[in-house]
Subunit: 292 residues, 2 copies
Protein backbone atom coordinates (compact mmCIF):
# COMPACT_ATOMS: atom_id res chain seq x y z
CA UNK A 1 0.00 0.00 0.00
CA UNK A 2 1.44 3.32 -1.08
CA UNK A 3 0.73 6.32 1.11
CA UNK A 4 0.85 9.78 -0.43
CA UNK A 5 2.93 12.39 1.38
CA UNK A 6 0.38 15.16 1.04
CA UNK A 7 2.32 18.42 1.14
CA UNK A 8 -0.70 20.57 0.41
CA UNK A 9 -2.72 19.30 3.35
CA UNK A 10 0.30 19.26 5.68
CA UNK A 11 1.24 22.82 4.75
CA UNK A 12 -2.33 23.98 5.38
CA UNK A 13 -2.33 22.39 8.83
CA UNK A 14 1.02 23.96 9.73
CA UNK A 15 -0.21 27.33 8.45
CA UNK A 16 -3.32 27.14 10.64
CA UNK A 17 -1.11 26.71 13.67
CA UNK A 18 1.15 29.51 12.45
CA UNK A 19 -1.76 31.92 12.07
CA UNK A 20 -2.67 31.31 15.72
CA UNK A 21 0.92 31.84 16.88
CA UNK A 22 1.15 35.02 14.81
CA UNK A 23 -1.97 36.38 16.43
CA UNK A 24 -0.67 35.50 19.88
CA UNK A 25 2.68 37.20 19.20
CA UNK A 26 0.81 40.34 18.22
CA UNK A 27 -1.54 40.25 21.22
CA UNK A 28 1.12 39.41 23.76
CA UNK A 29 4.13 41.32 22.50
CA UNK A 30 2.71 43.77 19.98
CA UNK A 31 4.86 42.33 17.20
CA UNK A 32 3.48 41.52 13.78
CA UNK A 33 5.88 39.39 11.72
CA UNK A 34 6.86 41.19 8.51
CA UNK A 35 8.09 39.70 5.24
CA UNK A 36 9.67 41.73 2.44
CA UNK A 37 10.07 40.14 -0.96
CA UNK A 38 12.48 41.79 -3.40
CA UNK A 39 11.77 41.29 -7.09
CA UNK A 40 14.18 42.58 -9.75
CA UNK A 41 13.17 42.50 -13.41
CA UNK A 42 10.19 41.15 -15.27
CA UNK A 43 10.53 37.36 -15.18
CA UNK A 44 6.87 36.21 -15.34
CA UNK A 45 7.38 33.03 -13.29
CA UNK A 46 9.16 35.03 -10.58
CA UNK A 47 6.31 37.55 -10.51
CA UNK A 48 3.83 34.71 -9.90
CA UNK A 49 5.94 33.18 -7.10
CA UNK A 50 6.41 36.54 -5.42
CA UNK A 51 2.73 37.36 -5.50
CA UNK A 52 1.87 33.93 -4.09
CA UNK A 53 4.37 34.17 -1.22
CA UNK A 54 3.27 37.67 -0.35
CA UNK A 55 -0.43 36.76 -0.45
CA UNK A 56 0.06 33.72 1.79
CA UNK A 57 2.00 35.81 4.32
CA UNK A 58 -0.78 38.41 4.43
CA UNK A 59 -3.41 35.68 4.77
CA UNK A 60 -1.69 34.42 7.93
CA UNK A 61 -1.82 37.90 9.42
CA UNK A 62 1.73 38.94 8.65
CA UNK A 63 2.78 42.31 7.36
CA UNK A 64 3.86 41.67 3.80
CA UNK A 65 5.41 43.88 1.16
CA UNK A 66 6.85 43.42 -2.32
CA UNK A 67 9.64 45.73 -3.51
CA UNK A 68 9.78 45.77 -7.30
CA UNK A 69 12.86 47.01 -9.17
CA UNK A 70 13.48 47.36 -12.90
CA UNK A 71 15.89 44.89 -14.56
CA UNK A 72 18.36 47.78 -14.98
CA UNK A 73 18.75 48.27 -11.19
CA UNK A 74 22.42 48.61 -10.24
CA UNK A 75 24.20 46.63 -7.54
CA UNK A 76 24.49 49.73 -5.36
CA UNK A 77 20.80 50.57 -5.67
CA UNK A 78 19.86 47.02 -4.72
CA UNK A 79 22.27 46.95 -1.77
CA UNK A 80 20.83 50.25 -0.56
CA UNK A 81 17.31 48.84 -0.69
CA UNK A 82 18.41 45.76 1.27
CA UNK A 83 20.18 48.03 3.78
CA UNK A 84 16.85 49.76 4.33
CA UNK A 85 15.08 46.45 4.96
CA UNK A 86 17.88 45.27 7.27
CA UNK A 87 17.33 48.39 9.40
CA UNK A 88 13.51 48.37 9.20
CA UNK A 89 12.15 47.00 12.48
CA UNK A 90 8.78 46.14 10.87
CA UNK A 91 10.54 43.64 8.60
CA UNK A 92 11.71 40.32 10.09
CA UNK A 93 12.27 38.34 6.92
CA UNK A 94 13.85 39.41 3.62
CA UNK A 95 13.74 37.30 0.50
CA UNK A 96 15.38 38.16 -2.82
CA UNK A 97 13.58 36.27 -5.57
CA UNK A 98 15.96 34.37 -7.86
CA UNK A 99 17.02 34.39 -10.64
CA UNK A 100 18.44 37.93 -10.76
CA UNK A 101 19.37 39.75 -13.99
CA UNK A 102 22.83 38.72 -15.21
CA UNK A 103 24.67 41.82 -14.03
CA UNK A 104 23.74 41.15 -10.39
CA UNK A 105 25.69 38.44 -8.59
CA UNK A 106 23.17 36.32 -6.62
CA UNK A 107 25.65 35.38 -3.85
CA UNK A 108 26.78 38.95 -3.34
CA UNK A 109 23.19 40.18 -3.31
CA UNK A 110 21.94 37.56 -0.89
CA UNK A 111 24.92 38.05 1.44
CA UNK A 112 23.77 41.67 1.81
CA UNK A 113 20.79 40.44 3.83
CA UNK A 114 21.50 40.31 7.57
CA UNK A 115 21.53 36.66 8.71
CA UNK A 116 18.81 37.24 11.35
CA UNK A 117 16.40 38.19 8.51
CA UNK A 118 17.65 35.60 6.00
CA UNK A 119 14.40 33.60 5.85
CA UNK A 120 15.53 31.74 2.73
CA UNK A 121 18.62 30.48 4.66
CA UNK A 122 20.92 31.24 1.74
CA UNK A 123 23.52 33.70 3.06
CA UNK A 124 27.05 32.34 3.49
CA UNK A 125 26.70 32.74 7.26
CA UNK A 126 23.38 30.86 7.42
CA UNK A 127 24.86 28.07 5.33
CA UNK A 128 27.99 27.93 7.51
CA UNK A 129 25.85 27.71 10.65
CA UNK A 130 23.66 24.98 9.14
CA UNK A 131 26.74 23.04 8.15
CA UNK A 132 28.09 23.30 11.70
CA UNK A 133 24.77 22.22 13.18
CA UNK A 134 24.24 25.55 14.95
CA UNK A 135 20.85 27.28 15.27
CA UNK A 136 19.95 29.15 12.07
CA UNK A 137 17.16 29.80 9.60
CA UNK A 138 17.34 26.72 7.36
CA UNK A 139 16.64 26.78 3.60
CA UNK A 140 12.93 26.28 2.96
CA UNK A 141 12.85 23.38 0.49
CA UNK A 142 15.02 20.89 2.43
CA UNK A 143 13.40 21.99 5.69
CA UNK A 144 9.98 21.33 4.15
CA UNK A 145 11.03 17.92 2.84
CA UNK A 146 12.20 16.83 6.29
CA UNK A 147 9.11 18.24 7.98
CA UNK A 148 6.96 16.18 5.66
CA UNK A 149 8.82 13.02 6.76
CA UNK A 150 8.36 14.06 10.40
CA UNK A 151 4.64 14.64 10.04
CA UNK A 152 4.18 11.18 8.52
CA UNK A 153 6.29 9.59 11.27
CA UNK A 154 9.09 8.50 8.94
CA UNK A 155 12.35 8.48 10.91
CA UNK A 156 15.79 8.78 9.34
CA UNK A 157 17.91 7.45 12.22
CA UNK A 158 20.45 4.93 10.90
CA UNK A 159 18.71 4.72 7.54
CA UNK A 160 20.40 4.78 4.16
CA UNK A 161 19.26 7.93 2.42
CA UNK A 162 20.24 8.91 -1.12
CA UNK A 163 20.00 12.56 -2.13
CA UNK A 164 19.99 12.98 -5.91
CA UNK A 165 21.22 16.47 -6.76
CA UNK A 166 23.84 18.71 -5.16
CA UNK A 167 22.38 22.19 -5.57
CA UNK A 168 23.09 24.88 -3.04
CA UNK A 169 19.36 25.43 -2.50
CA UNK A 170 18.25 21.85 -1.97
CA UNK A 171 20.60 18.87 -2.34
CA UNK A 172 23.57 20.08 -0.33
CA UNK A 173 21.72 21.50 2.66
CA UNK A 174 19.39 18.50 2.70
CA UNK A 175 22.38 16.13 2.90
CA UNK A 176 23.89 18.18 5.72
CA UNK A 177 20.63 18.21 7.68
CA UNK A 178 20.05 14.48 7.17
CA UNK A 179 23.52 13.49 8.36
CA UNK A 180 23.41 15.81 11.38
CA UNK A 181 23.35 14.44 14.90
CA UNK A 182 19.66 15.27 15.02
CA UNK A 183 18.75 13.05 12.06
CA UNK A 184 21.57 10.49 11.98
CA UNK A 185 20.93 9.19 8.47
CA UNK A 186 23.76 7.66 6.46
CA UNK A 187 23.61 9.93 3.43
CA UNK A 188 24.91 9.46 -0.10
CA UNK A 189 24.83 12.45 -2.46
CA UNK A 190 24.44 11.40 -6.08
CA UNK A 191 24.55 13.74 -9.08
CA UNK A 192 25.03 14.03 -12.84
CA UNK A 193 28.49 12.44 -12.64
CA UNK A 194 27.41 9.48 -10.53
CA UNK A 195 27.91 6.11 -12.18
CA UNK A 196 25.50 3.23 -11.46
CA UNK A 197 22.84 5.58 -10.06
CA UNK A 198 20.15 2.89 -10.11
CA UNK A 199 22.34 0.54 -8.10
CA UNK A 200 22.75 3.22 -5.45
CA UNK A 201 19.11 4.33 -5.27
CA UNK A 202 17.94 0.71 -5.18
CA UNK A 203 19.74 0.20 -1.87
CA UNK A 204 18.22 3.26 -0.22
CA UNK A 205 15.50 3.31 2.42
CA UNK A 206 14.67 6.89 1.43
CA UNK A 207 15.43 8.71 -1.83
CA UNK A 208 15.17 12.50 -2.01
CA UNK A 209 15.41 13.98 -5.49
CA UNK A 210 16.17 17.55 -6.49
CA UNK A 211 17.83 17.12 -9.85
CA UNK A 212 15.64 19.39 -11.97
CA UNK A 213 15.12 16.86 -14.75
CA UNK A 214 11.62 15.65 -15.64
CA UNK A 215 11.06 11.92 -15.05
CA UNK A 216 14.76 11.24 -14.57
CA UNK A 217 14.03 8.30 -12.27
CA UNK A 218 11.49 5.55 -12.86
CA UNK A 219 10.46 2.24 -11.28
CA UNK A 220 13.70 0.59 -12.41
CA UNK A 221 15.65 2.83 -10.00
CA UNK A 222 13.83 1.79 -6.81
CA UNK A 223 13.20 -1.16 -4.56
CA UNK A 224 9.83 -2.14 -3.18
CA UNK A 225 8.92 -0.14 -0.07
CA UNK A 226 11.19 2.85 -0.69
CA UNK A 227 10.21 6.32 0.54
CA UNK A 228 10.40 8.87 -2.30
CA UNK A 229 10.45 12.66 -1.82
CA UNK A 230 10.54 14.57 -5.08
CA UNK A 231 11.47 18.26 -5.09
CA UNK A 232 11.44 18.49 -8.89
CA UNK A 233 9.15 21.01 -10.55
CA UNK A 234 9.49 20.66 -14.30
CA UNK A 235 7.03 21.77 -16.95
CA UNK A 236 6.55 19.42 -19.88
CA UNK A 237 4.33 19.74 -22.97
CA UNK A 238 0.80 18.44 -22.46
CA UNK A 239 -1.60 18.88 -25.38
CA UNK A 240 -4.62 18.10 -23.18
CA UNK A 241 -3.88 20.92 -20.73
CA UNK A 242 -5.40 24.35 -21.21
CA UNK A 243 -2.02 26.09 -21.40
CA UNK A 244 -0.42 23.20 -23.29
CA UNK A 245 1.87 22.08 -20.47
CA UNK A 246 1.89 20.37 -17.10
CA UNK A 247 4.02 20.26 -13.97
CA UNK A 248 5.90 17.02 -13.23
CA UNK A 249 8.57 15.91 -10.78
CA UNK A 250 12.00 14.35 -11.29
CA UNK A 251 10.40 10.97 -10.67
CA UNK A 252 7.97 9.14 -12.93
CA UNK A 253 5.13 9.14 -10.39
CA UNK A 254 2.98 6.78 -12.43
CA UNK A 255 5.41 3.84 -12.22
CA UNK A 256 7.24 4.62 -8.98
CA UNK A 257 4.08 5.10 -6.90
CA UNK A 258 3.31 1.41 -7.50
CA UNK A 259 6.28 0.22 -5.45
CA UNK A 260 6.98 3.05 -3.00
CA UNK A 261 5.71 2.87 0.58
CA UNK A 262 5.43 6.68 0.66
CA UNK A 263 5.71 9.16 -2.19
CA UNK A 264 5.18 12.88 -2.74
CA UNK A 265 2.96 13.94 -5.65
CA UNK A 266 3.99 16.80 -7.98
CA UNK A 267 2.31 19.23 -7.68
CA UNK A 268 1.03 19.11 -4.10
CA UNK A 269 4.08 17.56 -2.42
CA UNK A 270 7.27 19.49 -1.68
CA UNK A 271 6.15 22.75 -3.34
CA UNK A 272 3.53 23.80 -0.77
CA UNK A 273 5.91 22.77 2.05
CA UNK A 274 8.58 25.14 0.71
CA UNK A 275 6.27 28.16 0.87
CA UNK A 276 5.03 27.03 4.28
CA UNK A 277 8.60 26.90 5.65
CA UNK A 278 9.25 30.42 4.34
CA UNK A 279 6.29 31.61 6.40
CA UNK A 280 7.45 29.62 9.42
CA UNK A 281 10.98 31.04 9.09
CA UNK A 282 9.55 34.57 8.98
CA UNK A 283 7.54 33.87 12.13
CA UNK A 284 10.63 32.41 13.83
CA UNK A 285 12.72 35.43 12.83
CA UNK A 286 10.08 37.72 14.35
CA UNK A 287 9.95 35.61 17.50
CA UNK A 288 13.75 35.76 17.85
CA UNK A 289 13.67 39.53 17.30
CA UNK A 290 11.00 39.82 20.03
CA UNK A 291 13.27 37.92 22.41
CA UNK A 292 16.17 40.21 21.58
Amino acid sequence: MTEILDGKKTAEEIQEGLAERIERLQTEKGIRPGLAVVLVGEDPASAIYVRMKSKRAAKLGMHSEVLKFPATTTKDELHKAIDGLNLNSDIHGILVQLPLPDHLDPHETIDWIMPAKDVDGLTAISQGLLYRGQPCLAPCTPKGMLRLLDVYGITTEGKNVVVVGRSELVGRPLAVMLSSRKRNATVTVAHTRTRNLGEITKKADIVAIAAGKAHMLNASHFSEGVVVIDAGTNTIPCPEAKNGQKLVGDVDYESVSKLASYITPVPGGVGPMTVCMLLENTFEAALMASEG
Copy 2:
Protein backbone atom coordinates in the same frame (compact mmCIF):
# COMPACT_ATOMS: atom_id res chain seq x y z
CA MET B 1 51.10 -4.13 -4.64
CA THR B 2 50.28 -1.56 -2.00
CA GLU B 3 51.66 1.92 -2.47
CA ILE B 4 52.14 4.12 0.57
CA LEU B 5 50.70 7.63 0.37
CA ASP B 6 53.72 9.33 1.88
CA GLY B 7 52.45 12.52 3.49
CA LYS B 8 55.79 13.42 5.03
CA LYS B 9 57.68 13.37 1.73
CA THR B 10 54.83 15.05 -0.15
CA ALA B 11 54.56 17.82 2.45
CA GLU B 12 58.30 18.43 2.28
CA GLU B 13 58.16 18.77 -1.49
CA ILE B 14 55.24 21.19 -1.35
CA GLN B 15 57.02 23.19 1.35
CA GLU B 16 60.15 23.51 -0.80
CA GLY B 17 58.05 25.05 -3.54
CA LEU B 18 56.31 27.26 -0.99
CA ALA B 19 59.62 28.57 0.38
CA GLU B 20 60.56 29.67 -3.14
CA ARG B 21 57.21 31.37 -3.70
CA ILE B 22 57.48 33.11 -0.33
CA GLU B 23 60.90 34.45 -1.23
CA ARG B 24 59.64 35.65 -4.59
CA LEU B 25 56.64 37.43 -3.01
CA GLN B 26 59.03 39.23 -0.72
CA THR B 27 61.47 40.19 -3.47
CA GLU B 28 58.84 41.25 -5.97
CA LYS B 29 56.19 42.83 -3.76
CA GLY B 30 57.93 43.40 -0.44
CA ILE B 31 55.41 41.20 1.36
CA ARG B 32 56.42 38.58 3.87
CA PRO B 33 53.56 36.22 4.76
CA GLY B 34 52.80 36.36 8.48
CA LEU B 35 51.14 33.73 10.66
CA ALA B 36 49.84 34.39 14.17
CA VAL B 37 48.96 31.45 16.38
CA VAL B 38 46.81 32.12 19.43
CA LEU B 39 47.20 29.74 22.35
CA VAL B 40 44.96 30.00 25.42
CA GLY B 41 45.75 27.93 28.52
CA GLU B 42 48.32 25.29 29.31
CA ASP B 43 47.25 22.17 27.41
CA PRO B 44 50.61 20.41 26.79
CA ALA B 45 49.60 18.80 23.46
CA SER B 46 48.38 22.19 22.18
CA ALA B 47 51.67 23.80 23.21
CA ILE B 48 53.58 21.21 21.15
CA TYR B 49 51.36 21.71 18.07
CA VAL B 50 51.62 25.47 18.29
CA ARG B 51 55.39 25.41 18.58
CA MET B 52 55.63 23.05 15.61
CA LYS B 53 53.38 25.13 13.35
CA SER B 54 55.17 28.31 14.27
CA LYS B 55 58.63 26.79 13.71
CA ARG B 56 57.66 25.39 10.30
CA ALA B 57 56.29 28.77 9.22
CA ALA B 58 59.52 30.51 10.27
CA LYS B 59 61.58 27.85 8.49
CA LEU B 60 59.82 28.65 5.20
CA GLY B 61 60.70 32.32 5.60
CA MET B 62 57.37 33.51 6.99
CA HIS B 63 56.92 35.94 9.82
CA SER B 64 55.58 33.87 12.66
CA GLU B 65 54.36 34.75 16.11
CA VAL B 66 52.68 32.94 18.98
CA LEU B 67 50.37 34.85 21.30
CA LYS B 68 50.00 33.07 24.63
CA PHE B 69 47.15 33.79 27.02
CA PRO B 70 46.41 32.36 30.46
CA ALA B 71 43.49 29.93 30.83
CA THR B 72 41.61 32.66 32.75
CA THR B 73 41.51 35.00 29.73
CA THR B 74 38.03 36.45 29.25
CA LYS B 75 36.06 36.45 26.03
CA ASP B 76 36.48 40.21 25.67
CA GLU B 77 40.25 40.05 26.15
CA LEU B 78 40.53 37.33 23.54
CA HIS B 79 38.30 39.19 21.05
CA LYS B 80 40.41 42.30 21.55
CA ALA B 81 43.58 40.36 20.78
CA ILE B 82 42.01 38.92 17.63
CA ASP B 83 40.84 42.43 16.65
CA GLY B 84 44.46 43.53 16.86
CA LEU B 85 45.58 40.68 14.59
CA ASN B 86 42.72 41.36 12.14
CA LEU B 87 43.99 44.94 11.79
CA ASN B 88 47.71 44.10 11.76
CA SER B 89 48.94 44.28 8.16
CA ASP B 90 51.98 42.09 8.96
CA ILE B 91 49.66 39.20 9.79
CA HIS B 92 47.94 37.35 6.93
CA GLY B 93 46.88 34.22 8.76
CA ILE B 94 45.36 33.80 12.24
CA LEU B 95 44.89 30.46 13.91
CA VAL B 96 43.28 29.88 17.30
CA GLN B 97 44.52 26.57 18.67
CA LEU B 98 41.72 24.30 19.84
CA PRO B 99 40.55 23.14 22.35
CA LEU B 100 39.85 26.36 24.24
CA PRO B 101 39.12 26.51 28.00
CA ASP B 102 35.47 25.71 28.74
CA HIS B 103 34.33 29.28 29.34
CA LEU B 104 35.29 30.32 25.79
CA ASP B 105 32.95 29.28 22.99
CA PRO B 106 35.09 27.96 20.12
CA HIS B 107 32.64 28.99 17.37
CA GLU B 108 32.24 32.50 18.74
CA THR B 109 36.01 32.86 19.13
CA ILE B 110 36.84 31.59 15.66
CA ASP B 111 34.14 33.72 14.05
CA TRP B 112 35.97 36.75 15.45
CA ILE B 113 38.76 36.13 12.92
CA MET B 114 38.23 38.00 9.65
CA PRO B 115 37.54 35.46 6.86
CA ALA B 116 40.45 36.73 4.71
CA LYS B 117 42.85 35.67 7.51
CA ASP B 118 41.01 32.48 8.49
CA VAL B 119 43.79 30.07 7.45
CA ASP B 120 42.17 27.17 9.30
CA GLY B 121 39.01 27.66 7.20
CA LEU B 122 36.76 27.32 10.23
CA THR B 123 34.74 30.56 10.44
CA ALA B 124 31.04 30.29 9.58
CA ILE B 125 31.65 32.42 6.48
CA SER B 126 34.55 30.27 5.22
CA GLN B 127 32.44 27.17 5.75
CA GLY B 128 29.48 28.72 3.95
CA LEU B 129 31.69 29.65 0.99
CA LEU B 130 33.22 26.17 0.86
CA TYR B 131 29.79 24.63 0.93
CA ARG B 132 28.69 26.85 -1.96
CA GLY B 133 31.81 26.02 -3.96
CA GLN B 134 33.05 29.61 -3.89
CA PRO B 135 36.73 30.58 -3.48
CA CYS B 136 37.82 30.42 0.16
CA LEU B 137 40.54 29.22 2.50
CA ALA B 138 39.67 25.54 2.92
CA PRO B 139 40.16 23.61 6.20
CA CYS B 140 43.67 22.16 6.32
CA THR B 141 43.06 18.48 7.03
CA PRO B 142 40.55 17.73 4.25
CA LYS B 143 42.52 19.94 1.87
CA GLY B 144 45.67 17.96 2.70
CA MET B 145 43.91 14.62 2.22
CA LEU B 146 42.71 15.61 -1.25
CA ARG B 147 46.10 17.03 -2.19
CA LEU B 148 47.71 13.73 -1.30
CA LEU B 149 45.33 11.95 -3.71
CA ASP B 150 46.15 14.52 -6.40
CA VAL B 151 49.90 14.11 -6.00
CA TYR B 152 49.60 10.34 -6.39
CA GLY B 153 47.37 10.76 -9.45
CA ILE B 154 44.29 9.24 -7.81
CA THR B 155 41.19 10.81 -9.36
CA THR B 156 37.80 10.96 -7.65
CA GLU B 157 35.61 11.65 -10.71
CA GLY B 158 32.57 9.37 -10.66
CA LYS B 159 34.06 7.20 -7.92
CA ASN B 160 32.25 5.92 -4.86
CA VAL B 161 33.88 7.52 -1.86
CA VAL B 162 32.94 6.82 1.74
CA VAL B 163 33.83 9.37 4.39
CA VAL B 164 33.73 7.88 7.89
CA GLY B 165 33.15 10.68 10.42
CA ARG B 166 31.10 13.85 10.25
CA SER B 167 33.18 16.34 12.24
CA GLU B 168 33.13 20.00 11.37
CA LEU B 169 36.93 20.02 10.98
CA VAL B 170 37.36 17.00 8.70
CA GLY B 171 34.46 14.74 7.70
CA ARG B 172 31.87 17.33 6.71
CA PRO B 173 34.12 19.66 4.70
CA LEU B 174 35.82 16.67 3.07
CA ALA B 175 32.45 15.33 1.90
CA VAL B 176 31.50 18.74 0.52
CA MET B 177 34.79 19.10 -1.34
CA LEU B 178 34.62 15.57 -2.77
CA SER B 179 31.09 15.98 -4.08
CA SER B 180 31.79 19.41 -5.60
CA ARG B 181 31.77 19.96 -9.34
CA LYS B 182 35.55 20.02 -9.22
CA ARG B 183 35.85 16.49 -7.77
CA ASN B 184 32.59 14.82 -8.82
CA ALA B 185 32.79 11.88 -6.43
CA THR B 186 29.63 10.13 -5.27
CA VAL B 187 30.07 10.56 -1.54
CA THR B 188 28.52 8.69 1.37
CA VAL B 189 29.05 10.07 4.88
CA ALA B 190 29.06 7.32 7.52
CA HIS B 191 29.24 7.87 11.27
CA THR B 192 28.62 6.36 14.69
CA ARG B 193 24.94 5.78 13.94
CA THR B 194 25.54 4.09 10.60
CA ARG B 195 24.31 0.52 10.40
CA ASN B 196 26.15 -2.04 8.25
CA LEU B 197 29.30 0.12 8.05
CA GLY B 198 31.40 -2.72 6.63
CA GLU B 199 28.91 -3.31 3.84
CA ILE B 200 29.15 0.34 2.87
CA THR B 201 32.93 0.68 3.05
CA LYS B 202 33.39 -2.57 1.15
CA LYS B 203 31.70 -1.06 -1.89
CA ALA B 204 33.87 2.07 -1.91
CA ASP B 205 36.67 2.87 -4.32
CA ILE B 206 38.13 5.27 -1.75
CA VAL B 207 37.56 5.37 2.02
CA ALA B 208 38.55 8.46 4.01
CA ILE B 209 38.42 8.04 7.78
CA ALA B 210 38.31 10.74 10.43
CA ALA B 211 36.45 9.07 13.25
CA GLY B 212 38.95 9.53 16.08
CA LYS B 213 38.82 5.91 17.23
CA ALA B 214 41.95 3.76 17.24
CA HIS B 215 41.81 0.77 14.86
CA MET B 216 38.09 1.15 14.33
CA LEU B 217 38.33 -0.35 10.84
CA ASN B 218 40.25 -3.48 9.86
CA ALA B 219 40.71 -5.72 6.82
CA SER B 220 37.16 -7.07 7.17
CA HIS B 221 35.81 -3.60 6.27
CA PHE B 222 37.54 -3.27 2.90
CA SER B 223 37.69 -4.79 -0.55
CA GLU B 224 40.89 -5.60 -2.40
CA GLY B 225 42.33 -2.56 -4.18
CA VAL B 226 40.65 0.13 -2.06
CA VAL B 227 42.35 3.48 -1.49
CA VAL B 228 42.52 4.30 2.24
CA ILE B 229 43.22 7.76 3.69
CA ASP B 230 43.34 7.80 7.46
CA ALA B 231 43.15 11.13 9.32
CA GLY B 232 43.03 9.46 12.73
CA THR B 233 45.66 10.35 15.30
CA ASN B 234 45.09 8.28 18.42
CA THR B 235 47.56 7.45 21.14
CA ILE B 236 47.43 3.93 22.53
CA PRO B 237 49.52 2.28 25.25
CA CYS B 238 52.75 0.76 23.98
CA PRO B 239 55.08 -0.76 26.61
CA GLU B 240 57.98 -0.93 24.15
CA ALA B 241 57.89 2.83 23.42
CA LYS B 242 60.04 5.23 25.43
CA ASN B 243 57.05 7.26 26.63
CA GLY B 244 54.84 4.17 26.96
CA GLN B 245 52.52 5.02 24.06
CA LYS B 246 52.34 5.21 20.31
CA LEU B 247 50.38 7.04 17.63
CA VAL B 248 47.95 5.00 15.51
CA GLY B 249 45.24 5.78 12.98
CA ASP B 250 41.56 4.88 12.84
CA VAL B 251 42.49 2.00 10.56
CA ASP B 252 44.42 -1.15 11.49
CA TYR B 253 47.31 -0.46 9.14
CA GLU B 254 48.87 -3.89 9.65
CA SER B 255 45.93 -5.81 8.17
CA VAL B 256 44.45 -3.21 5.81
CA SER B 257 47.73 -2.40 4.07
CA LYS B 258 47.76 -5.98 2.76
CA LEU B 259 44.72 -5.41 0.54
CA ALA B 260 44.69 -1.66 -0.17
CA SER B 261 46.08 -0.31 -3.42
CA TYR B 262 47.11 2.92 -1.66
CA ILE B 263 47.16 3.70 2.05
CA THR B 264 48.38 6.48 4.32
CA PRO B 265 50.59 5.52 7.25
CA VAL B 266 50.03 7.01 10.73
CA PRO B 267 52.18 8.90 11.56
CA GLY B 268 53.58 10.31 8.33
CA GLY B 269 50.37 10.40 6.28
CA VAL B 270 47.67 13.01 6.72
CA GLY B 271 49.32 14.76 9.71
CA PRO B 272 52.22 16.40 7.84
CA MET B 273 49.83 17.36 5.02
CA THR B 274 47.60 19.24 7.47
CA VAL B 275 50.45 21.44 8.69
CA CYS B 276 51.62 21.91 5.12
CA MET B 277 48.17 23.16 4.04
CA LEU B 278 48.15 25.63 6.94
CA LEU B 279 51.38 27.08 5.58
CA GLU B 280 50.01 27.11 2.03
CA ASN B 281 46.80 28.83 3.19
CA THR B 282 48.89 31.49 4.95
CA PHE B 283 50.88 32.06 1.78
CA GLU B 284 47.66 32.25 -0.26
CA ALA B 285 46.14 34.73 2.19
CA ALA B 286 49.26 36.91 1.87
CA LEU B 287 49.14 36.65 -1.92
CA MET B 288 45.48 37.68 -1.95
CA ALA B 289 46.24 40.59 0.38
CA SER B 290 49.04 41.66 -1.99
CA GLU B 291 46.58 41.65 -4.87
CA GLY B 292 44.15 43.77 -2.87
